[in-house]
């Protein structure tokens, strides 16, 4: 059984954060109706890469959903929206704060026709506060959260994460919050409003950095340290002849094993590296020694050599290598898809969590814009003629 097969979600979101949130619900069986601006569609329909005139990006976040094109500014469009709300359990939107109210598709408008609706807003900075209406590029939320200053090397500029961690985090916190609300509704019959922001989620994810600001002296800088570990060495990303690998030696035993397996027993009695404290103090020299050795070996040779003696390590895989790696394959983390109407064959990451009972699957590729207009509107009682007229008027 798919856990959410009794749940209908109206999806007013675009771009990445909101669509990823509703994707998590759709993959577990929710009936997600994606409402897209009539004639235009979700902005990701124009995002690269474009194959055969269609966006591959859009396949990622629209799978398992139905598409209805709707002009929410037209009175007929608003009526259709409210008719859909009456049959829905959950609404998700990621407009700029204020826009949903202006369009009259906000929580207040929705609960008038469906008092127990669960309504989740996802935004860059939240619905309140001085930055609520600032443009919510992910890099801006990362910059303001403290996260970006904490990522990168001390000798270079701060660095955002390679992929939009603000969107990703807000999406899953949104899905978690919606499930909390569905559970609460099952107890009390009540719906509610949820306000999720990228900034809040990123700030929450700064691990011990915030508590450290309050217990460490003000002069103690809390900032990025590349791939190093504050507490021990060696623990870093090192060069091999064909790329990089990581090695995390957290114990004295790891260090001894490293010296033995690389034939450098001399380092064990070298004053610069004799204990963890010394190694931390002379970490730059230590890094040079480790990289010099490994630059004559491939990543795989290094990983084979080090794992054999129990040292935690791994090659740094690029995404093409990750896709075909044994663990990703063994975990069935790749969904092979085919969309004959758009980009043809492709693969995307599979649903990330394994349940013993709750089923999940990626069944249908992304719909065309308005592909389910007829199906959904006829369920609301519209005749084929009505639908044709709405299309001609640009409502659909």
């Amino acid at each position: 059984m798919k856990t959410l097969e009794s749940i209908t979600v109206l999806d007013l979101t675009q771009a990445y954060s909101g669509p990823l949130c509703t994707t998590l619900l759709a993959d577990y069986g929710a009936n997600v109706i994606k409402i897209e601006p009539a004639g235009v569609g979700d902005m990701t329909r124009y995002w690269s890469p474009i194959i055969n005139g269609y966006s591959a990006y859009n396949e990622l976040t629209s799978r398992n959903k139905k598409s209805v094109s709707l002009n929410l500014k037209a009175p007929e469009g608003k009526k259709i929206f409210l008719d859909l709300v009456k049959k829905a359990d959950v609404i998700v939107e990621n407009f700029k704060p204020g826009t949903a109210a202006k369009l009259e598709v906000d929580y207040e408008s929705a609960r008038k026709v469906k008092p127990d609706i669960i309504y989740c807003s996802i935004s860059g900075f939240g619905q309140t506060g001085p930055e609520a209406k600032s443009p919510a590029y992910a890099i801006i939320a990362e910059a303001m959260s403290g996260h970006m200053d904490l990522t990168g090397f001390p000798e270079t500029a701060p660095c955002k994460t390679g992929l939009s961690i603000g969107d990703s985090m807000a999406a899953v916190y949104g899905a978690f919050s919606i499930m909390m609300s569905l559970f609460q509704r099952s107890l009390t019959g009540e719906g509610q409003y949820i306000d999720v922001s990228m900034l809040d989620c990123l700030f929450f994810a700064t691990e011990s950095a915030v508590i450290n600001t309050s217990v460490l002296p003000p002069e103690r800088v809390i900032t990025r340290s590349g791939n190093r570990e504050i507490a021990f060495a060696p623990y870093d990303c090192y060069k091999a002849s064909d790329g990089y690998y990581v090695l995390g030696g957290g114990t004295e035993r790891h260090w001894i094993s490293y010296c033995e397996v690389t034939g450098r027993e001399d380092l064990l009695t070298d004053d610069r590296f004799k204990d963890n404290d010394s190694r931390k103090k002379n970490e730059l020299e230590l890094t040079d020694i480790i990289s010099e050795f490994s630059s004559k070996h491939t990543r795989q040779e290094m990983v084979d050599m080090l794992s054999k003696v129990g040292i935690p390590c791994a090659p740094v895989l690029n995404i093409r290598e990750a896709v075909v790696s044994p663990q990703i394959q063994a975990r069935n983390m790749l969904a092979k898809m085919e969309n004959p109407k758009t980009i043809g064959a492709y693969h995307i990451p599979n649903v990330p969590v394994k349940f013993s009972v709750s089923e999940s699957s990626i069944d249908s590729p992304a719909p065309l814009l308005g592909e389910h207009n007829e199906e959904i509107l006829s369920e609301l009682g519209y005749s084929p003629e009505d639908i044709k007229e709405l299309l001609e008027k640009g409502v659909l």
Copy 2:
């Protein structure tokens, strides 16, 4: 009402991923009983910074929980554990795969005494596959997921995120999955087993990188690009006199405004920068020009100047600055705490999602090891004498 006040969670986790997962449940009212190794406790009790002999780190992830110290290897300890399972709804563990079964505290053991138990395992690489038992340092999961190769500057080594995004992601995916299971149990009465891994969650979070491997030609490298945007320029992190700021000009209007407000209308007719394509091609020179101008101004001066004309931008705040920033303050994202028994006053990030109905709060600071032994064991029918004896035997 706190949504989860009827839910009891047995928390067998240590370090960060598992404790963060159960923290999300505790903050919304779940009765979380943290079972810690007798005499030793969660490993975070020894993590820096140490204040007055107590770990600040441990305050972060043990708040709102009760602590029972328990030797799971002793027969009496196992009995207490199973008695607790009978009264629990959810169990969360993040042992190395295989350890829970060896200790007989795994799903199979638990469901024998509580058939509808929801049991969530969190691990580095999942319960299956060739890497299941590899050491699960977060940097290793990042390296294997493709995430690390995608983060950092092209001219430097790959870079992990500053804070442990693998743990953070696995934690919230765990909480989402537990809520899915509680919802499913409310429909069918059934419990289930959940297998969450850092690697799966990170791989899932690589946005369009995976689909791009399948639709772009093999020679097309998909790797890190620092803070730049593939599609447009300027969009980067730039130097100011007192630090860094980000600027994301996605439209032609933004570029024109930038040139006007900085008095560089000459750039508008400069062939190197006349349209987005040219700016992307000459991005290094563009960056130099922008940084040279802003290096004579503070971050705040730059942000004031650029926001006034509608250019998306923000200072890169370090964590101390983020904590006191107006938006974080306005969102009430800081919980001021006091633990008179351990580290005294401190602050931590507040619960990240705002609900209109579901209440959340951080009420109690981290418990001492075994602080709730008496309370919890007397609920199970143990007398003060029994408890004293168990303590003396090292079971508690």
